[in-house]
Symmetry: D2
Subunit: 255 residues, 4 copies
C-alpha cells in the first residue's frame, strides 16, 4: 500500500489517546506492529505533558500522523495543521473538522475547504470524512490522495453502520486508498472492513479501552490481515439454498 | 483446547470435500495449519477412489475426524461410524444425522439417539447439532463432551444466522468445548464466532469454493486467531452515544 | 385463516398476563380486535383471583386459548391441559413445555411427546416450538395442525432472531398455519413476520409492557394487516444497484 | 403534521412514476389515501404526454409536489423548479440534485446551494438529502422547513441502511418534519421508519413495481399508521435476558 508515495506494510493505523498509561500505550503500539500512529496536537502541546509524550513516541520508530482532533472550523484546523507540521516535521496531517459534538461527525463543508487550503499549502491530507461519494470526489479534487470514511461515530465501537456505502466507495474509487477511520469496536469489524476492499483501518478506542490493550492490538492486527487475505482469495458466494458440502452422490474421483 | 483429552492448538477444523484437485486440498490444509481434518466415509469408500485419497491424507500428519455425512437415520449413522472406526482406527466420529435434505439441518431426535448408542459403544462423538440449548443438554447426557452447533445451513456461507443463540449456549455450557460447524462463509464470520466465545470453527465450503483455497485457508486461520485473542482481551462496550477518542478537555488551549 | 376448522379473521392472538390492571387489559383486547386470547391456567386458578378474572374475560366474546405456561415436564403439561379443558370447556390448548428457565425455550423432546399424548386424547394442540423444521414435522405427525415457532425468547422483545429459519418453515409447510409466538417487541417485527408469510402472530409482553397498551395493541393489529397485505401484493425485488424511480430518458407515454 | 403551514393527515407521500398504466396509478393513489403526490417535471413536459397525465392527476384531489428528478446541477434544478411553479401553480418543490448516477445520491453541496437560491425566491423546498446532520443544519439555515433524508438508494428497496443515523437526526432536529425519501421496499421498512420517529415516508418504486400496486399502496399506508401509533405508544425495552410473560411466581400451585 502506498500513501502519498510512501510504502506502508501494516494496514493498521493506531491512535494514541485514552490509554491507561504510557507503558500500556507503548506495549499496544508494539503489539499492533503499526507503522503509523496518530497524535493529537492538543494533547502534545498540553502544558507539562507534551515533551515527555513526544520523546516516548519517538522511540517507537513509527511515522507520526498528527491530527486536528477537536477542531470545529476551517481556521482552527488550518492553524493546528501548521503547528503540527512545525512540531512534527511532516507534511502529513489527519484532517478532522468536527461538525457535531455528540456524534463527532465531520462537517463535510468545512472539511473540503480546509483540505483545499492545506493541499494548496503543501500538506498531504488524510481527511476523516463520511461515506458520502460526492464528498469523496470533492476531497480528491481538493488535492487529497487518500480518503478516510467513518464506520460509525468516533468512540462508539459500533462497527460498520453502513457497509453498502463503503462498498459503493470502493467501486467508485478503485484506485484511491480507503482507510476506515472511527467506529471499529472489535476484531470482526476490522475483518469485515477489509473484506469490503478497504485498504486499511485506523482506530484508537477499541484498543485503548479494551481490558488488555496490547492483546487487543494484536487481535486487530491479525483481523486486518485475515480480512485482507480473505478479500484477495475471492470468497464463495453466499447461497440462500443450502447445498451439501460433501458430495456423496456420484462421488467424483480425487485420485 | 482439549477435545476428549487431546490437546489441540489450532482452533480451525477443516473439511476435505469439494476441492478442485488433491493438490489444492493439500495446499489448503497446510496453509490452514489445521490439526484436525474431517473425512466423509462415503467418499473414502467410493469405489476406486478411497485408497489414494487416504494415502494422501496420511501424509499430512493431521488427526482424522471421520464423519457420517449423508446419513439420515440412526441405523445408517451407527453403521457408518463403525466402518469409520475400523478404517481410520480412531474412536472419534463427527456425527451427522441429516433431517432435511435442503437445509441439511440435523434431525435432533435421531442425533441424540445415535449419540447415545455410539457413546455407549466407546465412540468419542462430535455431534453436528443446532443451536438449541435443550438438545445440547441431551447430547451431553448421552455422553458427548463436545458440541458442534451450526452457524447456518451447510454450504450456504451465510455466516452466523443467530448469534444470540450461540451466546446463550456459551453462557449455559461454560465448560464444554463449542465448535461452530457449518455456515461460515468468510473470515469475518469466523472472527465473530470466536468473539462470541466459541472454542473453534469447523468449515469446508468456504475454503474449498474460494477462488484461492490456500489463501482463504490462511485468512480464516488468522481470523480465528484474531477472534480468540479479541475475546480474551475483553473488548470495549459498544456505545450508543459517541464520545471523543481524543481527550481535549483539561488540556491547555492551543498556544 | 382456519385453525382446527374454525374461521378466524384477526391474525393477532393476544396474551393476558402482565397488564397493569384489568381495565387496561380490557382496553387492549378491544383495541387489538383479537378473536383469540391466551390464558395461563396457573393465573386462572390462583387463589382469590381466578373467578373475577375469568368473568372479565367472558365478557369479551373472544375464544379462549388456555396455555400451559410454566410447565416443565410432559406430565405437568398434560395435567394442566386437562384442568384447562374442564375449566374453559374447549379442546384448544397452547402447549408450552419449557426447557430452559432463562430463555424459556421449548423442550422439543417433551413438547413432541406431550403433543402426542394430548392429541390422542382429543385435544387440539397449538404447540409453542422453535424454528426447527424437523421438530415441526414431528409435531405434525403427533397430530398438531398448527405450528407456533418462536421469534425470540419469551418477553425479550428482540423481534425475529432468525428470519431465514422462519422462511424455511414457510417453504417446507406451505399448508400448515404458522403463528409466530414469542419475541415480538414492536409493530415492525410483526409486519416482518407477516411479510415472511406467517399466518398470524401471538404476543403478550409487547402490548402489556408498552407505555400505552391499548395504543400498542391497535398499532400491532395494523402492523399485522400491513404485513399480510404486503405479502399478498408481491413486493418488489431488493436491488443492489440503484435505479432511477423516475424514468426521464425516453419517457414512455402514460396517456 | 404540518408541512410549510399546511395540515396534512396522511403520512404517506407517493411518487407517480413507473406504473404499468394510468389506471393502475389511479388505483394505487386512491388505495394509499395519500394527500401529496410527487410529479417529475420532465415527465410532465415530455412531448405529447404531459397534458393527459396532468389532467388525470387533477382529478385525484391531491396536493402536487413537483420534483426536480434527473437534475444534476444547481442551475438545472433551479430552472426546473421555476417551470414547475408556473405549471403547477405551487410554491412547493421537491429538490433533487443528483450527485452520482448509479446510487442517485444527492450532491449535498449543490443541494444546499440550490435550496438557498430557491428559498430566497419564495419556494417552499422539500430537499431530498442524505442522513448527514451537518447537511441538515445547512439546509435549515438555507430556509428549508422540512428534511427528507434517504433510507437507501432510490429504487433499491433496501429499506433503512443506517437507522442509527436517522435516530440521530430525530434527536438533533426534534421539531423539524423528517420524511424518509427513497429506499423503502416493503411495509416493514416503512413501519420501522415511523418507529424511529420519522414524520412521514415518501416512496414510489415499492408501490409501482409491486405485483399488485394498489394492494401494496394500502399495505404501506397501514404500515405507516402502525409505526406511528407504535412510536406514540412507547414500546417496551428490548431485553437481552428473557423473562416470563406469565407471572407464575407468587401464585398458588396447581390445586
Amino acid at each position: 500500500m502506498q500513501l502519498y508515495g510512501q510504502d506502508i506494510t501494516s494496514r493498521l493505523l493506531l491512535g494514541t489517546a485514552q490509554y491507561p498509561s504510557p507503558s500500556v500505550l507503548n506495549a499496544a503500539i508494539k503489539s499492533s506492529a503499526s507503522e503509523i500512529i496518530t497524535v493529537s496536537l492538543r494533547r502534545e502541546t498540553a502544558e507539562g505533558t507534551g515533551a515527555g509524550f513526544w520523546d516516548q513516541l519517538r522511540t517507537l520508530n513509527c511515522r507520526i500522523l498528527p491530527n486536528t482532533a477537536g477542531c470545529h472550523s476551517v481556521q482552527e484546523a488550518v492553524t493546528t495543521a501548521h503547528m503540527a507540521r512545525e512540531l512534527f516535521d511532516t507534511p502529513w496531517i489527519k484532517l478532522e473538522v468536527i461538525g457535531h459534538s455528540d456524534t463527532l461527525q465531520p462537517d463535510v463543508f468545512a472539511l473540503v475547504e480546509a483540505a483545499r487550503v492545506l493541499s494548496d499549502d503543501g500538506f498531504q491530507v488524510f481527511p476523516y470524512t463520511t461515506d458520502d461519494l460526492v464528498v469523496g470526489e470533492k476531497l480528491l479534487e481538493a488535492g487529497c490522495e487518500v480518503l478516510m470514511p467513518w464506520g460509525a461515530p468516533i468512540g462508539s465501537g459500533q462497527g460498520l453502520r453502513n457497509p453498502d456505502a463503503l462498498c459503493a466507495m470502493r467501486a467508485h474509487f478503485p484506485d484511491v486508498p480507503l482507510i476506515v477511520d472511527a467506529g471499529i469496536g472489535r476484531p470482526s469489524d476490522a475483518t469485515q472492513a477489509m473484506e469490503l476492499g478497504m485498504d486499511a483501518v485506523l482506530l484508537n478506542t477499541a484498543v485503548a479501552k479494551a481490558g488488555d490493550p496490547a492483546g487487543m492490538a494484536r487481535a486487530i492486527a491479525l483481523a486486518i490481515e485475515a480480512g485482507r487475505e480473505g478479500y484477495l482469495a475471492d470468497p464463495m458466494e453466499r447461497r440462500d439454498m443450502a447445498v451439501p458440502s460433501t458430495p456423496v452422490l456420484g462421488l467424483a474421483a480425487l485420485s
